[in-house]
């Protein structure tokens, strides 16, 4: 389905986007562009200024680039991947620059991803963590956490040459879902392993053979058998992108004429309406074969009658 193809292409783009270098020029642009626009708008507005009316408060045309807050949010994409976005206030960075002096320019900006499953995270008790280097223009990141069924927290921070880590922002904690069934069973609702495997296959729609189920489940995730492909907003009101070259030819016939405006006209025996000036025009899809089209006009006093009969032969070679 066309929509599905689009989705697939998008995914390819997302995977590419994960490099932050791409974000850099974009962020710069966004920062500088509104300034020029503001000047332009001012000049433009001055041109049309009418002193009698109280000037209305102008509606912002675009969303702000930043909200001047320190903020980092972590989101779950799926059992393996996380997404985080953040914003650091200019003042926060300046303060660090001031405090760290020379070390600031030598520090690497990193995302530190903590596994905080089943603990109350205090900044130092994570089960493990790993770092991802990011450049200073990046404001979001997709993280391959690789750990379904775990809890995660992320810091944006500075890694100093000596190995010291300074946290700038800390995210909320999220939990990634399991990528398969839980290992935990319920004593009261016990179920044997092979029975569960069969049930699992049935529920996922792959029949009851446990051997196939796991492989098929993974395929399901990759091959998009889910409904989302055509779920949500309907109206894919457009033609599918067809790659094969094609041609369609149809023919129509226009039968038109004129008589006295008050005459009665029939075409192939059926009454038709005339325009106020006595003209008429009919349009027909023209299939192959012979069409005999008697057009008959009778005057309003029924004294005069005229019949003209075009005969049309259409052949498709």
């Amino acid at each position: 389905m066309a929509m599905l193809r689009n989705v697939k292409n998008k995914i390819k783009k997302v995977t590419k986007k994960i490099s932050a270098e791409k974000d850099a020029p974009k962020s710069k642009l966004k920062k500088e562009y509104p300034v020029d626009q503001a000047v332009e708008t001012k000049i433009e507005t001055a041109k049309y200024y009418t002193p009698e009316r109280r000037p209305e408060r102008a509606m912002q045309q675009d969303l702000p680039f930043s909200y001047d807050v320190d903020r980092m949010v972590l989101q779950v994409r799926d059992p393996w991947w996380l997404h985080t976005y953040w914003e650091v206030r200019h003042g926060t960075i300046e303060k660090l620059r001031h405090e760290l002096k020379d070390d600031f320019s030598k520090a690497k900006r990193v995302l530190r991803v903590y596994d905080v499953s089943n603990i109350i995270f205090d900044g130092s008790n994570a089960h493990r963590f790993f770092d991802i280097s990011v450049n200073e223009y990046a404001t979001n990141w997709y993280i391959d956490a690789g750990g379904p069924g775990r809890s995660w927290c992320v810091d944006l921070g500075l890694l100093l040459p000596g190995g010291r880590f300074i946290t700038i922002l800390r995210s909320n904690v999220v939990h990634t879902p399991l990528e398969g069934p839980s290992w935990i069973t319920d004593e009261e609702w016990m179920i044997p392993e092979d029975m569960f495997a069969r049930l699992y296959g049935l529920g996922i729609g792959f029949g009851s053979s446990p051997a196939k189920v796991k492989r098929l489940w993974e395929q399901r995730l990759k091959r998009e058998i889910t409904s989302g492909a055509i779920s949500s907003v309907s109206s894919p009101g457009r033609r599918p992108q067809e790659k094969k070259f094609w041609l369609v030819v149809n023919t129509e016939l226009i039968v038109y004429g004129a008589t006295e405006p008050d005459a009665t006209v029939t075409v192939q025996g059926r009454h038709i309406n005339l325009r106020p000036d006595g003209t008429f025009s009919l349009r027909f899809a023209l299939p192959d074969g012979e069409q005999v089209i008697p057009v008959k006009a009778v005057s309003s006093d029924k004294q005069d009658e005229r019949v003209i009969t075009p005969v049309v032969n259409k052949k498709t070679k």
Binding site: L4, N6, V7, N9, K10, K13, V14, E56, R57, M59, Q60, D62, P64, Y67, R71, V73, Q75, V76, R77, D78, P79, H83, Y85, T139, N140, N172, V174, P177, L178, G180, P181, S182, I184, T185, D186, E188, W189, L199, L202, G203, I204, G205, E224, I225, T226, S227, G228, A229, I230, S232, V233, S234, S235, G237, R239, V248, E252, Q268, R283, F284
Partner: protein, 525 residues
């Protein structure tokens, strides 16, 4: 002997698209097409079943945005204009195709259908919600609610106050429309994250649905798989989707809608006919769009399409309904032996699949319901609330985070094309909570401004915008809607804080974004 239950669920949703500021607005056609091709055909099916005294039970979610549009007088008037134009076009088509019997009978079929659509629309006082309400009051369908604007909850996790507002506004809206409390909810896109059931419980909701892996990957393991509901720790029940029955209808490869005798969706006279002739019936800008008059059947995999034959299609729909029922009987018998318990098979679909996408879908549903009622005794139709009152004892577990979208989790709404929206939506949600806390008791214009702020926030949160950005079609409209509502929200926030609300402007956006007239901003806590 009776061996199991079938719960068919139709999720019926469209985002709020209403533009009084434009004479003619392309995206409003989503509603008009759905009315003609899905809602009215479904109503016709239900009405005939009721008239013939055929017992059936079916669950339908009607989203608050859809109910609001169906009840809106401007959109109702515009639908009449829309269907009148289609009737005019169908008349012309009957004339134009006079020499070609096959197409002429199809043109006559459309003409009759459009007249029938207009009659049905008028019969229910132009408000189709009343039709569905009547079927619920007659004990045939169970209507459930959804997020107020279909916000995608799993990506609103740091904005839980907004999830709460989405649920509470929806429940209040439902009560006003149907005169009772909703028993169940369709979580938008089946998006669940552990703990959200607490929010549902607060709002008095008894059950929701998840995709199959939501239950199957739950902890601890579900003893009956997806064939019995489970209770979350909050006591709210969760019904898991059965994928086998879903696949038979949904799958683009093996699903029924792809059968070659069924009507081809993409061949529409809006694209096929001579430009000058069709021009008055397409978009005023001259862009060719679908009209709803489609003359071809799927035929095969190539571009050569043959004319649609309604009789063949009807026979095929009956055959497919029989096949679906047979498979559910076998499934129920097998599961009954296996589980030593009557299974419930939950088959949810987007309602717009029926009729709009799969033209013969409503007919198929009609055949299916009649066959289940008359031809067998193995399965019976049920709604979740009936099942729960018959089977109050169920396993307690925590379902896994999941959705029914592409790949089963959040990626459809969280990818390169749409991830930028969350930094704005989350801030707006935080600001809304700040306003609700700061102004706990208000009246007059300040109250109006606060209520409008919540409307704008909810409208910005519709999952449809992120979804559309993700699919890559109609993107500019989705981006514009997200930005417009966020910008309106931001200005309200700033004006409210500065105590300088511009009444003329406020009235203007109240008129444009008029959803939820009884909203109370204090639900956003």
């Amino acid at each position: 002997m009776h061996k199991g239950y079938l719960a068919i669920v139709l999720h019926t949703h469209l985002p709020y698209v209403r533009h009084p500021e434009h004479e003619d607005f392309l995206e409003e056609d989503w509603l008009y097409e759905a009315i003609t091709e899905t809602y009215i055909p479904l109503i016709t099916v239900f009405q005939r079943l009721l008239d013939d005294n055929v017992k059936f039970r079916l669950t339908m979610s009607l989203t608050p945005t859809l109910i609001s549009m169906l009840s809106d007088s401007l959109l109702q008037d515009r639908y009449i204009k829309h269907i009148n134009r289609l009737i005019e076009l169908a008349h012309k088509e009957v004339e134009r195709t006079r020499w070609d019997g096959e197409f002429n009978s199809l043109a006559n079929m459309y003409l009759a259908k459009f007249y029938e659509a207009r009659n049905t629309f008028e019969k229910y006082g132009r408000n189709l919600t009343t039709a569905f309400k009547a079927f619920q009051d007659a004990g045939r369908i169970e209507i459930i609610t959804c997020g107020a604007t279909h916000g995608y909850f799993p990506l609103m996790d740091v904005s839980r106050a907004s999830i709460r507002a989405q649920v509470k506004v929806a429940v209040g809206h439902y009560e006003k429309a149907f005169g009772r409390k909703p028993l169940g909810i369709w979580l938008p896109e089946c998006g669940y994250y552990p703990g959200y059931d607490e929010i549902l419980k607060e709002a008095g909701i008894k059950y929701f649905f998840s995709d199959s892996h939501g239950v199957l990957h739950g902890t601890p393991r579900p003893k009956y798989g997806v064939f019995a509901p489970v209770y979350c720790k909050s006591g709210v029940a969760c019904f898991g989707r059965d994928l086998e029955s879903s696949k038979q209808v949904w799958s683009s490869i093996e699903g029924y809608p792809g059968d070659y005798v069924y009507r081809e969706f993409y061949r529409d006279i809006g694209f096929d006919l001579d430009y000058e002739y069709i021009r008055p019936y397409i978009h005023p800008d001259g862009v060719r769009i679908s009209t709803g008059i489609k003359y071809y059947r799927i035929t095969g995999t190539t571009n050569n399409k043959a004319a649609y034959n309604p009789h063949w299609a009807k026979d095929k729909a009956a055959e497919h309904a029989g096949n679906f029922m047979f498979n559910r009987q076998k499934q129920a018998e097998y599961l009954f032996d296996f589980l030593q318990k009557k299974p419930i098979i939950v088959s949810p679909y987007d309602a717009e699949l029926y009729g709009h996408w799969w033209y013969e879908g409503p007919m198929w549903l009609d055949f299916l319901i009649r066959k289940i009622a008359c031809d067998q005794k193995t399965i019976s139709m049920i709604t979740p609330s009936e099942y729960l009152s018959e089977n109050p004892r169920n396993q307690v577990l925590t379902p896994s985070a999941s959705s029914w979208g592409w790949k089963g989790y959040n990626e459809m709404w969280l990818q390169g094309s749409n991830d930028w929206i969350y930094r704005h939506l989350d801030v707006a949600s935080e600001r809304m909570t700040e306003l609700a806390k700061k102004f706990s008791n208000t009246n007059g214009m300040l109250r109006r401004a606060l209520n409008q702020a919540l409307r704008e926030l909810l409208l910005a949160q519709s999952s449809d915008w992120a979804f559309i950005m993700g699919t890559g079609t109609h993107v500019s409209y989705a981006v514009k809607r997200t930005k417009d509502h966020l910008l309106r929200f931001t200005r309200l926030y700033e004006d409210i804080k500065a105590n300088s609300v511009d009444e003329a402007w406020l009235s203007d956006i109240e008129y444009k974004d008029n959803i939820f007239p009884d909203i109370d901003y204090r639900v956003h806590q």
